[in-house]
């Protein structure tokens, strides 16, 4: 039922441009460049395979060169769905009314994520305060767990950006980890799950942020509701307690392996406030949706 209705909606929604005469309709799915592109393909292509099988459409990944590219692709209709960072989502929400569908359950199953500050095991740095005068690598500026939350951590520990010898926002989480491990930076900020992946290679966690909602899979506001619903339901239907679903989820990104929960715009209000509260935020409440828009 879901599948058949979905197909019809897809055809209507995507129009002739997205359809080849003898092929299933193509649905493009953007993913922010949070990892190295190879890793994104490895861990997100299985999601596309699952959706393609389940919804009888051809879901294809569409990567960009930056977080901004992914937002732009969704805004321009090049992609129909996207996994965005929270800050990217908030921006997309303001700019073209992006709608959150689901978010990963994450490690605790609560649909939250945390940012961590990491250093090399042998760096001798044991507190955030010791980072003054040191170099620091942030994840891309639009990353919540790798940029926004760690900045809060540093701020709370009394370390301002001007206290650092040098800092930079690198292209993705892997760049941050490698920068720290190679000694190019004394410390870095990444999501907790990424830190777990690299712990064996000599990373030590200095501090963990408060939880924030995990990054949402969003769609365009003008996409037919039935299509958005079919994707949401297909992802929500995955139950990590079911062995068959667990088998499906096995090759997926670590953040996705516990399945998904429904995402709502209100989940991200806290982040909006954080952005407004810190000096590095825009401070003009620009991440709130236009007055009167749907929540």
């Amino acid at each position: 039922m879901l599948v058949s209705s979905c197909l019809g909606v897809l055809v209507l929604a995507l129009g002739g441009a997205a359809l080849a005469a003898d092929e299933a309709p193509v649905v493009r799915f953007g993913v922010i460049t949070r990892y190295h592109p190879r890793l994104i393909y490895q861990t997100h292509q299985p999601v596309m395979d699952y959706l393609s099988r389940t919804l009888r459409a051809r879901f294809e990944l569409k990567l960009g060169r930056s977080f901004e590219d992914t937002n732009r692709d969704l805004e321009q209709g090049t992609t129909q769905f996207a996994l965005l960072s929270i800050m990217s989502y908030l921006e997309a929400r303001v700019r073209f009314g992006a709608v959150p569908l689901v978010k990963p359950r994450g490690e605790g199953g609560q649909g939250v994520t945390r940012g961590v500050v990491v250093t090399r095991t042998d760096s001798g740095i044991t507190t955030l305060g010791a980072l003054k005068g040191r170099t620091f690598a942030f994840a891309p500026a639009k990353s919540t767990a790798g940029n926004l939350l760690p900045r809060y951590l540093l701020f709370a520990a009394g370390v301002r950006l001007t206290d650092l010898e040098r800092y930079a926002n690198l292209a993705n989480y892997d760049n941050v980890v490698l920068g720290v491990l190679r000694g190019q930076y004394d410390a870095g900020a990444i999501p907790e799950l990424v830190a777990e992946r690299y712990r064996e290679r000599g990373l030590r966690v200095l501090a963990v942020s408060d939880p924030a909602p995990s990054e949402p899979i969003v769609t365009r506001a003008d996409l037919p509701a039935a299509l958005a619903r079919s994707v949401r339901e297909a992802l929500l239907a995955l139950d990590p307690g079911d062995p068959r679903d667990r088998e499906i989820l096995k090759g997926w990104d670590d953040e996705f392996r516990r399945g998904f929960v429904t995402a709502d715009d209100r989940d991200y209000d806290g982040i909006r406030r954080m952005l407004d509260a810190i000096p590095q935020g825009c401070g003009v409440r620009c991440h709130y949706p236009p007055r009167g828009s749907a929540r």
């Binding site: 592109p37 190879r38 490895q42 292509q45 596309m48 960009g64 090759g251």
Partner: protein, 496 residues
């Protein structure tokens, strides 16, 4: 005309050498072929693994390149062409071609830039494009050379940008195999020569004792010779020699027993012959006795004048002489003697034998004729045994002919000896009996009329003289027995 030379005609040594060498050759060739096949498998597998390793290693960079191109992080094509050029320039890879095809089979990059943009739709390409993992296929290059085509998807997970295909020439592999084959053939040739020499030497070592033993056997002409030399060996040849000596012993015993049987048969037959002659002997004795009785009675009845008395005494004298002669003849025939070879006048022997059956001849009114050729040579034989042969044939002939029948006895010189014949016009011999008449105890006469030994004993005597005996007969038309005897017992002639 001799037939083709067969295996059986070859000496053991030649057979041994040929079979040993052939066996070794076959073994070496089989092992060689197996080695070459194994070598081919190993080399092919090694090349396959090398190809897979190279292609899969290159595939990582190629995939990333295509991915970066899609992300517009790279200018399309240039980097792929650079990778291909560098890979092709690596020495020792045996690369014939290296290309990247997009999912539809269109050439995106190729070491031969003229191929750019072409779409490959051949079977090898189709299989390569459809393969989800690295695929190795055999193919031929455009110039017909055999090669390995190794293709691997340029993909991450199920996201596929195209296929990387590399062709590896099998020329070096084939050259290595050809070299291996040449080495094996060379080794085979050397082994052939060595094995031939070894087989010859071994054959000589093994078979020379056998040849010596064969010479010993050749020298052993009589049953009483004792083979020497090889019997002392402890190997199979010695065992064979001892078995041969033991067999000679058993043959001596068997021969002695045969001789005893033969003698017994001869005696039995002789006694039987005497029995058959008994009436004739009685007649031969009674006739002169009757004459002598008459003379004695006449002398007792009166007083004859001296002349009559001398005449009567002369008749008595003559009668006694005839009796004495008859008894002497009988005794001569009946006397048991060893085989004594001496010059024999065959004509006289025939005449004396005919005298023994004169009574049976007269009683049956048989026309008995003796024909002797004028230049009959003397032969070396045992006269008594010879007489028994003739007597047996004569008595059989007289039994076979009806009254007034005829029996012709003759002797003539023949090549290297003489031929005696005893022919009758009697009842003849049934055709089915002809093959058995010389068998011991075979007789067609009624019970009590024959021992069945006569012709068998005659056969044995003739054989002992180195002669031969045969018969031509037709039922109802008579029989002719022919006995050929050599002039000397060892002067044998081949049977006609």
């Amino acid at each position: 005309m001799r037939g083709r030379l067969s295996l059986a005609d070859w000496g053991l040594r030649i057979k041994f050498v040929i079979f040993t060498t052939l066996l070794l050759l076959v073994v070496v060739l089989v092992v060689g072929v197996l080695m070459v096949r194994r070598e081919r498998e190993i080399l092919t597998e090694r090349m396959r693994e090398t190809g897979i390793t190279l292609v899969e290693s290159l595939a990582i960079a190629f995939t990333d390149t295509l991915m970066y191109e899609e992300l517009r992080l790279l200018e399309q094509g240039d980097l792929l062409d650079t990778y291909i050029a560098q890979a092709m320039a690596r020495p020792g890879t045996d690369l014939v071609y290296l290309m990247v095809l997009d999912p539809e089979g269109r050439v995106v990059a190729h070491n031969d830039t003229t191929q750019f943009g072409l779409t490959y739709g051949d079977a090898v390409a189709r299989r390569a494009l459809a393969a989800e993992n690295t695929l190795v296929q055999r193919d031929r290059s455009r110039d017909g050379r055999e090669l390995l085509d190794v293709a691997t998807p340029l993909a991450i997970s199920t996201k596929r940008w195209g296929t990387l295909r590399a062709g590896f020439s099998l020329h070096r592999l084939e050259a290595a195999l050809a070299s291996g084959i040449r080495q094996i053939l060379g080794l085979t040739a050397i082994l052939f020569v060595v094995s031939l020499g070894l087989a010859l030497a071994l054959g000589r070592m093994l078979l020379e004792p056998l040849r010596r033993f064969a010479r010993v056997m050749e020298r052993t002409t009589g049953l009483h010779d004792v083979p020497t030399g090889e019997v002392d060996r402890r190997d199979e040849i010695g065992m064979l020699a001892r078995q041969f000596a033991a067999m000679l012993g058993r043959l001596r015993e068997a021969n002695a027993e045969l001789q005893r049987q033969h003698d017994a048969m001869g005696r039995a037959e002789k006694l039987a012959s005497i029995g058959r002659l008994a009436s004739g002997v009685a007649h031969e004795i009674n006739n002169p006795l009757a004459g002598m009785q008459t003379c004695v009675a006449a002398l007792q009845a009166g007083e004859p004048d001296p002349a009559t008395t001398r005449q009567y005494l002369g008749l008595v004298q003559e009668g006694l002489g005839r009796v004495q002669g008859t008894v002497r003849q009988l005794l001569d025939f009946a006397r048991q003697r060893e085989l004594v070879m001496a010059p024999v006048d065959v004509g006289r022997t025939l005449e004396e034998t005919l005298a023994l059956v004169r009574y049976q001849v007269e009683r049956k009114r048989v026309k008995l004729r003796l024909t002797l050729s004028p230049s009959l040579p003397r032969i070396r034989a045992d006269a008594g045994q010879l007489q028994q042969v003739v007597l047996n044939l004569l008595l059989n002939a007289l039994d076979a002919v009806p009254e007034d029948g005829s029996v012709d006895v003759g002797a003539r010189a023949d090549t290297g000896g003489i031929e005696m014949t005893v022919a009758d016009d009697g009842c003849g011999i049934q055709e089915e009996h002809l093959g058995r008449i010389f068998d011991p105890f075979f007789s067609t006469k009624g019970p009590g009329k024959g021992t069945g030994l006569g012709l068998s004993v005659s056969y044995g005597i003739v054989q002992a003289h180195g002669g031969r005996i045969g018969v031509e007969s037709r039922a109802g038309a008579g029989s002719t027995f022919r006995v050929w005897l050599p002039a000397t017992p060892d002067g044998r002639e081949g049977m006609a």
